[in-house]
Every structure is written in C-alpha cells, then in structure tokens.
C-alpha cells in the first residue's frame, strides 16, 4: 500500500496538531453567533480544544489497553467491521468538511482583505492547488513542513497580540457573560466539530507517529499549547472590540491594531500576518485533506492514497466554487451536529473497547490459570 505515511516524531506531530487546532479554533469557530450573549469565546474556544483533548486521551487510553495500533482498528475491535466502516466514513467526511471550512474561510479572507478587485474563483484556484500539492506528498511531508513553520507561526501570533497592546481596554470584555455559562459550555461542545477531527486523524495515523504512545504525547503537547494561544488571542480580541462590534466583524484578529491612535512601524503588518496565517491554514488544510484520503484508502483497501487526495482536492475545489454562488446546506449541518456525531460514537467506542479489553484480559487470565 502506498499511503505516503512515512515516520515522524513527537515534535512534528505536536506542531501539526498545534497548527491545525489554532487555525480551526481562531478562524473556523469565530462567527457572529459566538458573541450573541457577550464575549465568552476566550473560554468556549479553548474549551472546544480541551474537550477534544479529553476524547483524544480517552481513545488513546482505550487503544493502549486493547493493544490496537490505530483508531480504525480500535473501532473494529469495539463495534465490529460494519459499524467500524460507518465510523470511518464519518471521520472521512468530517476531516473533509474541516478542510473545506478552513480553506473556505481563508479564500474569503484573502479575497476580501487583499485581492478585492479579483473574483473569488481565481483566489480559490490560487489556494486549493497548494493544499492538494502538500497533501499529495503525504503525512511525513505535511508534518515536517509543520515542524518548520510551527514555532515561527506561534511566535508571530504572539507578537501580533503584543503589538497593539496599547489599544487593549479591560472594560470591553464586560458585561461578562456570567449568567450564560450554559451557553458558553454549549458553544464549547458545538465547537468540537472543528477540533476533534484533527486529534482523531492523529490517532488514525498512529503508526506514522511511531505508535500510540508517541501520538498521544504529540497530541497532548500540541493541544495544550493551542489552548494557551487561542485563549490569549480571544482575550486580546475581547479587549480590543466589544461584543456588539464583534457581532458585525469579519476576522477580528486581523483588525487588532485598528484601535491604536498613534501609528507605529507595526501598524501595517496586518497583511503580512494574514499571509503567515495562510501558511498555517495551508498546512492544516493539507493535513485534513490527506487525513480524509488516508482513512478512506486504509479502510477500503485502496493501494495508493494519492489519487484519493487529488479526488478529494477536486471535490473541495468544486464545493468552494459552488459555495461561492450558494450556501451549501450540508456543511451547515456538519457545523450544527458535527460535535454530536463525533463525541457520542467515539466516546462509546472508547468505553466499549475499555470494557471489552478488561473482560478479555480477565478471560485470558482465567484461561491461563485453567
């Protein structure tokens, strides 16, 4: 089988997970509805990553206890082949949907903020082939690119939060949504549709990560760093814009320096930062696209992942083009119910695998004694 998986270490995995989670949380989850009851996104967005981390640890624990080498094997072990097929298809679809959400967001951003005079289609044609090209080269290539850029992107994000520090005012975070903890928790749960797939894909490619243990460490490091970065970015956004402004704002992270009165050398860095974030989105998009192709090939015994990646890329291109003309309902359904589709079956899979492996161990011990 030519799955282009290769072998990477913890650093590559952590960088890849970090880039994917930060990109998805900051750019996919950031929609006007998130600010309806005040600004609690500095809790709900990192909360979505935290919930993904909890599920990830649960699944990694179940894989270790049951001795399964990757997530696909764990699903077969827990529910059998038939349900395993359905869950694999679900991961495939959600990984593809996340690639779509991220690339769609960035094509709109680049179009609206940089190439306004062009139509959206050339911008899509400019971005999507790069995503396909990176994904085509496989997991090792994506992870190594992530390692090259991970630290640079993280530092740039931190700097972009530090430059406009003079414009931050604590009162803009108020009124604190203290009466809406339930809404914040619900937002965090709903947001897992964008954070869980990245973590699940890592477990699917556990062999390429040199085993479950290595994948687990990489996932934990990446997720913890992402929680910190996303919380810091959302607090910075909250201290720059009130919730009423955020309800009507497209990509507030891009506009952090607008409240500065005195211009500085860093005043016009926003476009440069946008292209840095675009690099992150290209890596994350390629990871999701490759992940979808990988799960499909691995599950249904396709021998080469590359045609699957190209096919997924072309479908992505078509979806983005169609979405430009008309909103695709299917993606809205994923946005709304994706978290339920992920949390319930995969938590159940982990629980069943843990119980099953426990009984099998017990049975094994009894057989040994007998």
């Amino acid at each position: 089988m030519k799955l282009c998986q290769g072998r990477v270490g913890k650093q590559e995995g952590a960088n890849l997970i970090g880039i994917a989670l930060v990109s998805s949380a900051l750019f996919v989850l950031d929609i006007a509805e998130a600010y309806q009851y005040g600004n609690g996104t500095y809790v709900s967005f990192p909360g979505a990553i935290f919930l993904a981390l909890v599920l990830f640890l649960l699944l990694a624990g179940a894989m270790r206890a049951s001795g399964q080498k990757d997530l696909l094997a764990l699903m077969d072990f827990a529910f059998g082949k038939f349900v395993g097929n359905i869950l694999s298809a679900l991961i495939c679809v959600l990984l593809f949907a996340n690639a779509h959400f991220l690339v769609s967001r960035f094509t709109t951003m680049v179009h609206a903020l940089v190439f306004m005079k062009a139509t959206l289609f050339p911008v899509i044609l400019w971005i999507v082939p790069v995503v396909i090209y990176i994904a085509f080269h496989g997991f090792e290539c994506i992870a190594r690119i992530a390692k090259c850029f991970g630290v640079i992107l993280g530092v740039c994000l931190l700097f972009s939060l530090l430059f406009p520090i003079d414009g931050y005012e604590a009162y803009r975070l108020f009124p604190l949504p203290l009466n809406h903890w339930d809404t914040i928790a619900a937002d965090a749960f709903t947001g897992t549709f964008a954070t869980i797939p990245a973590m699940l894909a890592l477990l699917c490619m556990a062999q390429g990560m040199q085993g479950v243990q290595s994948a687990k460490k990489a996932g934990v490091i990446g997720a913890v760093i992402s929680i910190g970065l996303v919380a810091a970015a959302q607090i910075a956004i909250g201290m720059t814009f009130t919730y009423t402004e955020l309800q009507n704002m497209f990509v507030p992270l891009y506009r952090l320096n607008l409240k500065l009165i005195q211009e500085s050398y860093f005043f016009r860095l926003d476009k440069m930062l946008l292209f840095l974030w675009l690099i992150g989105a290209l890596i994350a998009g390629a990871y999701y696209l490759y992940g979808a192709g990988f799960v499909f090939c691995r599950r249904w015994s396709r021998y080469d992942v590359r045609p699957a990646v190209i096919a997924a890329g072309i479908i992505l291109l078509c979806c983005l083009t169609v979405e430009h003309m008309k909103q695709l309902q299917a993606f809205q359904v994923v946005r709304q119910y994706g978290s339920w589709l992920l949390v319930i079956p995969f938590t159940a899979a982990a629980a069943v695998a843990l119980v099953k492996s426990h009984f099998l161990k017990k049975k094994g011990q009894t057989d040994e004694k007998a």
Partner: protein, 405 residues
Amino acid sequence: MRKHRTRALLMFTLVLAPLCCGCLEATSLDEYGYVLTIGVDQGEQKKYNISFLLQKEGDSQEAQTGAGSYIVTAEGDNLFDAIMVAHVGIPFELNFTRTNFILLSDQIASSSRMDEFLSISFNALNLRQSVKLVIVRGTCAEYFEGLTSADIPNVAKRQYNLFRMYQQEGMVPMTNFTTYQEAVGSGRFDVAIPVGRLDRSIPTESDGEKQQMQGETETNDKDTTDGVKRSGGLRSYIHGSAVFDGNRLAGLLDDEDTEILLLAMGQFRNGHLSISDEEGTIAFLIKETVSPHVQMSLGEAPHAVVTLTLFAEIELDTSGNAEARWDSELKGQLENYIVMELNRVFEQCKLLNSDAMRFGRYACMQFSSVEAWRDYAWKEKYKNMTAEFGVTVKLNDRIISSHIE
C-alpha cells in the same frame, strides 16, 4: 553537523525572504493620486461635496519645490459617486492607502448624514478604519486651502505633526473611526472629536503677495485663532473638541474645556494651567501619568466618585515663593480649581447629553449579563447622573520647582 547546516540555510532563506517583497508588475507613482485627507461638506446638487487633499508625487518641479499638495473636489450621493466624478477630470487613480484623516463639516456632523457617509465599505477603497476623524467649523474645502503652503511641502507630515503636537499639549482628543463606531454601536460612551478651524486673519499666500504689492495689510479681528491674534503659520488649525451624543454632534468645547475633559477621560498627557492671586501668577505644567480611579454606584441616578492624581511642575512664578507656599496654599488652590473645572465640564457635557467623560465604560463593568446591561439603558440614566471629583496634585520635583533655572 548536517542539522546545523539545514538550520543555517533556513535562517538565511528567511533573511533573504523580505527581498522578494515588491510589486509584481511595473507600477508608477504617476498612475496614482494619494489622498491624504477626505473632507465632507454639504453638497448643492448632491448630498455631499467631497474634497480630496492629495500629495504631489514624483519628480515634478512642483512636487520638489512648490506647494506639495492640491485639492480635488466633487459632489456625490456617497464617496464612490464622488470618486467617479473626480476620476473624470484627473489623469490618475485616487488611492486611499495613505489616507490618515476624514474631515466632516459641522453641518454634516449635526445631521444623520455623517453616519450615512461613514457606512461605506472601507475595505473596498483600501481605506484604513483607523483613520482619524476631525470636525471642521465651516467647510472642509476652505480648511484644506488653509493647510496648503509652499513653505512646507509635505502636507501629510505637516498635518500629522500639527495634530500630534496639539494632542500632547492636551488641547485636542484623538479619535479614530473605529472608536467612533464602538461608541455609536455599543452605547457605552460618546466620542469627543477634535475641531478644525480657520483663522481668516492670516492671509493666504496669494493674498500675501497682493498685500505686499499694494503695501497694505488687512486683518479681521473676528476670525482669529480662537479669539487670540496670531500672525504667520497656517490658516487652518485644530483646537478644542466636538462632543457627540451618539452619532450626532451635540456641542463644542474650547481648548481649556478639552484639557479638563481629557483629564477626566484619562487621556491627558501634558498641559499648562496657571493660577493668579495677589502675590503673583504661577503657571504649572500638569502631567497625568496615572489613570483616574472611578467608583460607580448605579441606580436610577448613577453616581461616580472620580479620583485623579496629577503631577505638577512650576514653569512660571512671578511671586518668587511658590515652592514655599505650595503645601499651605497653592496645592489646595490648584486642586480646588481643577475640581471646580471638572464639575463644570461634566455639567456641560451632561447638558449636551454626551457621555464624553466615558463613565459608561465603568458602568458596564457592574453587569453580569448583556440583557441586564441593555435593560439598564445607560444613556437614559446618564441624564440623572451625578459625579464627585477629587484631585490630588503632587509637586513633581521640589528642587526643580524652587530653582527654576
């Protein structure tokens, strides 16, 4: 070793990366007219008469030596209309990437047309939303004419320096479009925007030449720099502030009132205050380095207790014993004067229904939900608000103050 080489190569590539920045195709400065300031007046045929102040670019003799700016004016129902009309008569494209200021006439600012005008897509023009706002008494077209001068060709630098200098002296607030939008959208406070004026007693350059030829000078005592005679320099100047009630101009404050307003807002940096008694006049340089401490109690009539800590340096002492009298007399006198002024300006703003001192910022911090804050209707309650000001002035350096030179 190989790892180090790879890292070094990567770092070298990163260092070289900025060299790749530039234009993809041939771009000539002559193809663009860089708009430094947009001025919006009431139109005659259309809704607005929009003026564009442009910087002259390139190698032209005028750009090198003459007045480095010129004005293009066009009427339109919105900015895009006016740009279309302006483009008909100019051999270049208007470019807004360097626009730093939007000037609005007081007539526009007093009507709903200001909001209507500012609701354009700034992205569509590459116009930054951090652009500063100025309200002009009279018309912006006249104000622009007062800004052009052959002696100081770089109009962008001139205008910005003028603005910054005044702001550092505590005579004008600085408000950009995003802050205005925040104030209008969130309803937590009202903005104070600097006011641009014209000193008609200062002759224009063409007038000056005529006067020299005719050997006579005419001055108009009515139109001076805020009532004070001035000669030389630019006709246009920025002085005082325009306070808003939501999105409408509510009234004007002079430079002294603006100083007091900035003190209460916590945006005051340096400024001068002088007090006189029977022993002489003492002028102080006042500095606000600590933000005001505000305690709010809410209810039907909100009440604020504001405590300010200021630092003072004696700049002029005709009595000769200011330092010796500081603790016993001058400190209390200065503090009482500032408290009295704060109360007066607060009442003035309240009368205009403008929360220019931004008490709403502190009020909203006491609510635990958006609904409760909305239901409270801050601007309605503000009408009944009372404030209590407390000021402590500390002498910055007693040795410097007692030994001025």
